[in-house]
Amino acid sequence: MDFANYDPAGAHRSREIISAKIVVGGGFGVGKTTLVGAISEITPLTTEALMTAAGVGIDDPSKVPGKETTTVAMDFGRITMAQDLILYLFGTPGQTRFWFMWDEIIRGAVGAAVLVDTRRITDAFAPLDYFENRNLPYVVALNRFDGAPQYELEEVREALAISPDVPLVSCDARHRESVKQVLVTVVEHAMARLQAEHGRGYPTPVG
């Protein structure tokens, strides 16, 4: 094929579009997709990544004869903020054995919100461990399920040993205004941390 007429670096670059993403983490069934759906302009979409047997971890391929690959699904949504600015919200796969996918999802992210269900608080340990060990600003959001025990935020902070410099908020993942507030907290926290690290002369974090 002759590409002589193409100018990939030229004409088509005039309207550069920037995209950013915020990650929504948490255990299985904690309401990540509900949260994304409450604010996304599109019905949350699912992207599937194929995992070969080598990456399966605790999956036992012998139990699935003839199946060499399995799929990891991640849900995401989109908010078009301006003609040249799109924000994406990515939910992490719930099952902990898919953590190698989380590394790809958080790469370059603005920050993350880790959702916690107070009825199954121990499910939050593993996701919190993950984010504590990554250089990505994150906040913890308690998803207030109907009928769930209503703990004080500080009780939860203590129970989950959440560091004092990590913002902790309460939310209802079904409600747009509530979700909006969680995302605002994520971005404000990311800005504060960036400002602080800049002041101390640290390099810019990239997730």
Partner: protein, 120 residues
């Protein structure tokens, strides 16, 4: 992949459409957006069915790599290989994901995202 929705079903192994290549020509972030012009879409007809579908999805509305994979119902890795090919062939325009370097650029981006959220 939901094979019931894909008319080719299990007859085509996922990486067959990339002729077995699993490494993209360039890494493309999940959230990096791509767009195509009518001319690019027309030219992509000659690049094969799957690439034509991708170029079509991105016409008129920029789509992220993740959206392209979701709308074409192709696995992410396969989509990334094909999208990187299309960019190299000049049939798709790659836009920048969030600039990771530079304090000013990063703060400026975060500030724009923050006001964008508040205006929702």
């Amino acid at each position: 992949m939901d094979q019931r929705r894909d008319p080719r079903g299990a007859l085509v192994r996922p990486y067959a459409v990339t002729r077995g290549r699993t490494e993209p020509l360039q890494d493309i972030a999940l959230e990096a957006v791509l767009s195509s012009t009518p001319t690019q879409v027309a030219e992509s007809r000659f690049a094969g069915h799957d690439k034509y579908r991708i170029a079509t999805v991105c016409e008129g509305r920029a789509q992220s790599l993740a959206e392209i994979a979701a709308y074409t119902r192709m696995p992410l890795g396969v989509t990334r290989v094909l999208v990187a090919d299309l960019v190299a062939e000049g049939l798709l325009t790659l836009h920048t994901a969030a600039p990771a370097e530079g304090f000013e650029e990063r703060m400026n981006l975060l500030g724009r995202v923050l006001s964008g959220l508040r205006e929702l």
